[in-house]
Assembly symmetry: C2
Homo-oligomer: 186 residues x 2
């Protein structure tokens, strides 16, 4: 049961976004820009970084949700996502993505844990400065989202079909509320 | 030296916001809503939570910057900020704020570290659900900002006068760029 009385039965961050529309707006926009906006990393790769960090933070809702989004957009589907979560070094992803996942794991521990060696390795594998920037910010943002979702003890469904359906909606429509909070802004 | 080549010499998050205006917009809006928007907690109290979490995360730039913002807006000034950073339980702040600072410290560790007892204690001291929500999100957001700033190894000035001057600007003008990136949006 959530720690506070929400105004809906929606699970995970969805209940929180509905509860506090003023903070929902920048949070949704941040997710949209980072995970779906113009970028060199594919949308599937960015969702994979989000799912990986969320799994390291043991956040069931975010981990399941973004794993489903990654699986829907990566050539290898859920099998690759599960291999990355189990052992990114051995997973069938590019050397560049492996190096970026190492940076994400460091960020998840602490900003100070990212070393010049991590960055040099990512660059040697072909990562640009913007990709390194976005990886750090995606990992940092999920350290926020995970704490927000679990710090208020929101509900995480056990049913993987629920996450797959949610992912379908996110993949096609994105993170911005379609015309949520009607009447608020217009 | 920052891990990536930024497009300015600005320190801390300021250099990152300038480097990536697409993510700067929601990040700045989130800070504005959380730290300065309508709320029951005073602006000084919210800045104090931000400074406290940033100090726990050992983020010199964010900790110094938000300590200066808190000091400028709290009756007790920097003395109270320093007492909170040293030992919040013994600092001259309300029982409610002490309970919220305990929640913030738990969030900083992990979302799962926030217990029903933490929340009950805050409620018993007079905290509303919205205050508990905002405390969790402020703490979570600074777990992001701190990792963003340090994960890219941005520069943190040593000079406390620089932070005081920055705080003066933030306290009077807020976190949204006044008309930053001219020509981008209009």
């Amino acid at each position: 049961m959530p720690h506070i009385a929400l105004n809906s039965a929606e699970p995970g961050i969805r209940g929180l976004l509905r509860y506090r529309p003023e903070t929902a707006r920048p949070l949704s926009e941040l997710a949209e820009v980072l995970l779906r906006g113009p970028g060199i990393l594919s949308r599937g790769e960015r969702e994979l970084i989000a799912a990986y960090v969320s799994a390291l933070n043991d956040c069931q809702y975010c981990s399941s949700s973004h794993a489903a989004c990654a699986a829907a957009q990566l050539p290898g589907g859920m099998a690759v996502v599960e291999q990355v979560r189990a052992d990114p070094g051995a997973a069938p992803v590019s050397a560049k993505l492996k190096a970026l996942l190492e940076i994400a794991a460091a960020v998840r521990h602490s900003g100070h844990a990212v070393t010049a060696e991590h960055v040099a390795e990512a660059r040697a594998a072909g990562a640009t400065d913007m990709e390194i920037h976005d990886t750090v910010l995606i990992a940092a943002a999920f350290c926020m989202f995970n704490r927000y979702v679990d710090g208020l003890a929101t509900i995480a469904p056990d049913d993987s079909a629920a996450y797959a359906a949610g992912a379908q909606r996110l993949v096609t429509q994105g993170y911005l509320p379609p015309s949520a909070d009607p009447g608020r802004d217009n």
